[in-house]
């Protein structure tokens, strides 16, 4: 009944190749955008933004970035934490060196810097594949964290080695620092997420995405039909790095405000984002959102249920969190190896036929 093409006639090529060809899907998409932009900003408070929405938006950007690399191009990366750190430190250096420039430009430039670094560390992917590439990116992770801990220039020679986001604004609205209003930080991240998602969606639907997927599915065959592995892999690393860099910059400047590289961008962060991608669904933009939402929301929900509603001791709840999240990950991977995105696809198929499945 829902999600049906029947009666939805396309009269031009542009209509035929739009992102959401099914009318119902398209309206749903516009409805989500309308709620995100038009409703939520008026109802959010500090708790909702800082504890739930900002981490969701920022991790969604990071998982879109990683999904392009792992899900679409098939290049396993364990360096996400390190690349987020590049974005954060690039943003910090830009913010402190050019205080009068808009935050939009800083975050975009931080993404650009990360893209360059990511390409540099992606070069070995031309020679090594699979697990070996994972190890090479793991080296990037440790090297970058070590670098930002070791070279005082990156943290402006501060005594503690921490970086702190000074107050910066966009068109006169404070975005970073403690005085930033909740709705402004939310909108700022939401704009970046929308931008990243639209760019990623359109890249993956076009030639670029097809070359990535060709490399992912069988690189030798792809090379034979004329796909350049060098260009395909390097563009995947660059685009992925750009998104991950943006997320790192937002993570530091808008969300946390003060960052210590080893703690905020350690190997755990790489794994977290990788889990988001795997649970959400490899090779799916929606999956990136779903994975980020799952891993950001679940701990908060468990905490609220355990501590606030049931009144259990906090340590028991924290331990249960680990157990439950871990068990859910395993269950999901067994029951639905293609992630939450596949569940969504199956639901859509079912909805098409409902209420007459035969």
């Amino acid at each position: 009944m829902f999600y049906r093409e029947a009666g939805d006639f396309k009269l031009s090529y542009a209509e035929d190749s739009q992102t959401f060809p099914i009318r119902f899907d398209r309206y749903r998409y516009f409805a989500v955008l309308a709620v995100a932009y038009g409703v939520i900003p008026f109802f959010v408070n500090d708790y909702w933004v800082n504890a739930i929405l900002l981490p969701f938006l920022i991790y969604a950007i990071a998982s879109i970035g990683l999904n392009i690399l792992v899900g679409y191009c098939g290049q396993v990366s364990l360096g996400t934490g390190g690349f987020m750190a590049v974005g954060a430190y690039a943003c910090y250096k830009l913010m402190t060196s050019f205080p009068e420039v808009s935050m939009f430009i800083h975050v975009l430039l931080a993404g650009g810097v990360t893209a360059l670094v990511c390409v540099l560390f992606g070069l070995p992917s031309l020679r090594i594949k699979g697990f070996y590439l994972a190890v090479a990116t793991l080296a990037a992770q440790f090297f970058l964290v070590w670098l930002f801990n070791r070279v005082p220039w990156f943290y402006n020679y501060s005594a503690s080695g921490q970086i702190n986001a000074p107050e910066r604004d966009v068109f006169g609205i404070v975005i970073t620092g403690p005085n930033a209003p909740a709705w402004a930080t939310y909108m700022f991240c939401l704009i970046f997420l929308t931008f990243c998602a639209i760019v990623a969606r359109n890249l993956t639907r076009g030639t670029q995405g097809r070359t990535w997927m060709a490399i992912r599915d069988m690189d030798i065959a792809a090379e034979i039909i004329g796909v350049s592995p060098l260009r395909a892999k390097m563009t995947a690393f660059a685009v992925s790095g750009f998104f991950v860099g943006i997320s790192g910059a937002l993570f530091f400047s808008v969300y946390l405000g003060a960052v210590e590289v080893g703690e905020a961008f350690g190997i755990n962060k790489s794994f977290l984002v990788l889990f988001m991608v795997i649970i959400g669904g490899l090779g799916s933009i929606f999956g990136s959102f779903a994975g980020a939402a799952f891993l950001v929301l679940l701990p908060v929900v468990l905490k609220v249920v355990g501590v606030d509603l049931l009144g259990w001791p906090t340590d028991i709840v924290a331990h249960f969190q680990l157990v439950i999240v871990g068990a859910l990950i395993v269950t999901f991977l067994i029951l639905e190896p293609h992630g939450l995105a596949q569940l969504w696809r199956v639901t859509k198929e079912k909805l098409r036929l409902w209420p007459f499945p035969h």
Binding site: S160, G161, A258, G262, E263, G266, P313, T314, D315, A318
Partner: protein, 427 residues
């Protein structure tokens, strides 16, 4: 039946729900993760003191204290979540027990007008109340600790540390890096050689650092460690047969659980402190009657009298005294965070007061002022006796080198003030 369940659930909610006239003290604790060994006793002590005050005295000035516990796991992201979740309940003061979370909260609490008390951790230059209006780190801070260690060594060596080498084994984070600047300045003053040995989080792997120490044979090793790193370091020191009496930890590296795993080999290990240790205080009898025997002890109730338990206990005592001060200044029992801040700024702890509380000589006597949020920085030395399994104070609370520390605090806080356009407020 359904109705009964609903009423039950409702009444449970009403009991659990916040009563209006509570004084809320959030406890951003960590009972899980690699730093839990330190987080649990501190949190237990913090909770138990408030329970004691509620049970024995009927609250603070007649108003019950309520502790809202939130698990951070020493993780900054969860710390932010906890802060946002608890600040709406009228939180009076935050004590996150984590330097990383402290750095995050300093601008936030200042904007929200809630005081932050980081006792012996956090940003050292917050001692300058001219710049940091809502942050307090009395009675002592990291730089006092570093200077206290050097003063102790000066005393041991008849005032001369020339040609001595001191290695600093530190947690490679904002926390561990704090003392470096001070130790460097003091090295220029006293002529010892300082060697730096960073240990990465969480600190289970220290073979290379201790190999380096075995090779260098420094005269003294100073440690700025936390969590599992402490136990590993002390075990490694024992393995290379480093003389324990020349191994000195900061106050976060000197609790029972740090030295126990090394057994007899840890005998003689020292740690600097800013409060007294042991359970030889009259107040613990009250804890026994009013908290433990009523079954209200926090956690497993097995930490009473441990070093970090005492520290949490002491932190809560200072918070309660500041709240009393605030009630006295403003003449209302139900104080707000802003009033609490005034109370902390006017806090005065004397030996008489501590004796009255059943905690004679539990900490140094000190007073806080608008300019000085850090107290006088009096620190003492403790030593571990493996045979009796006790820590004991081996010195009094002695002053630190304010000639060196004062300018450092002024320099760092004025840099912060310039970065954030803060004007000096004590005129």
């Amino acid at each position: 039946m359904t109705l009964k369940m609903t009423t039950l659930a409702l009444s449970a909610l009403m009991v659990a729900g916040p009563a209006m006239a509570d004084l809320v003290f959030p406890d951003l604790s960590y009972r899980t993760g690699p730093y839990a060994a330190g987080g649990i006793p501190f949190s237990d002590g913090y909770n138990d003191y408030f329970t004691l005050v509620n049970e024995r005295d009927g609250g603070i000035g007649g108003v019950k204290a309520r502790v809202v516990e939130c698990e951070t796991g020493y993780n900054t992201e969860k710390g932010v979540e906890c802060y946002e979740a608890t600040k709406g309940e009228g939180a009076l003061v935050y004590q996150p027990l984590s330097t990383g979370i402290t750095y995050q909260l300093i601008p936030k609490v200042t904007a929200d007008g809630i005081p932050l008390h980081t006792m012996g951790y956090g940003r050292t230059s917050a001692a300058n109340g001219e710049v940091f209006s809502h942050v307090f780190n009395y009675p002592a801070n990291y730089w006092d600790g570093a200077s206290g260690v050097i003063n102790y060594l000066l005393e041991e060596n008849a005032g001369d540390l020339k040609d001595k080498t001191i290695s600093l084994v530190y947690h490679n984070s904002a926390y561990g890096k704090e003392p470096i600047r001070t130790l460097e300045e003091l090295s220029a003053k006293h002529g010892y050689e300082l060697k730096l040995l960073p240990v990465d989080h969480p600190g289970q792997e220290q073979k290379s650092q201790w190999l380096q120490i075995r090779r260098d044979r420094p005269d003294y090793v100073v440690m700025w460690g936390w969590g599992v790193m402490n136990q590993v370091a002390i075990q490694e020191a024992a393995n290379i047969r480093y003389p324990m009496e020349n191994f000195i930890g900061v106050w976060w590296s000197g609790a029972e659980h740090d030295v126990m795993p090394a057994g007899d080999q840890a005998d003689g290990y020292k740690a600097i402190t800013f409060h007294n240790v042991g359970r030889d205080f009259p107040v613990f009898a009250d804890v026994q009657t009013h908290v433990v025997e009523k079954g209200l002890a926090a956690g497993a109730g097995d930490q009473i009298g441990n070093v970090l338990y005492n520290r949490g206990f002491y932190a809560a005592m200072l918070a309660v005294e500041a709240a009393k001060k605030a009630q006295e200044i403003h003449g209302v029992a139900d104080i707000t965070p802003a009033m609490m801040r005034d109370g902390m700024e006017a806090l005065e702890i004397t030996q008489d007061l501590m004796t009255e509380l059943g905690m004679p000589n539990f900490g140094p006597s000190f007073s806080v002022s608008c300019e000085n949020h850090g107290g006088p920085g009096l620190v003492g030395m403790t030593q571990w006796d493996a045979e009796t399994q006790t820590w004991s104070m081996i010195s009094g609370f002695n002053p630190t080198d304010s000639d060196v520390l004062g300018p450092l605090v002024a320099e760092d806080s004025s840099a912060y003030a310039a970065e954030n356009n803060i004007e000096e407020r004590c005129k």
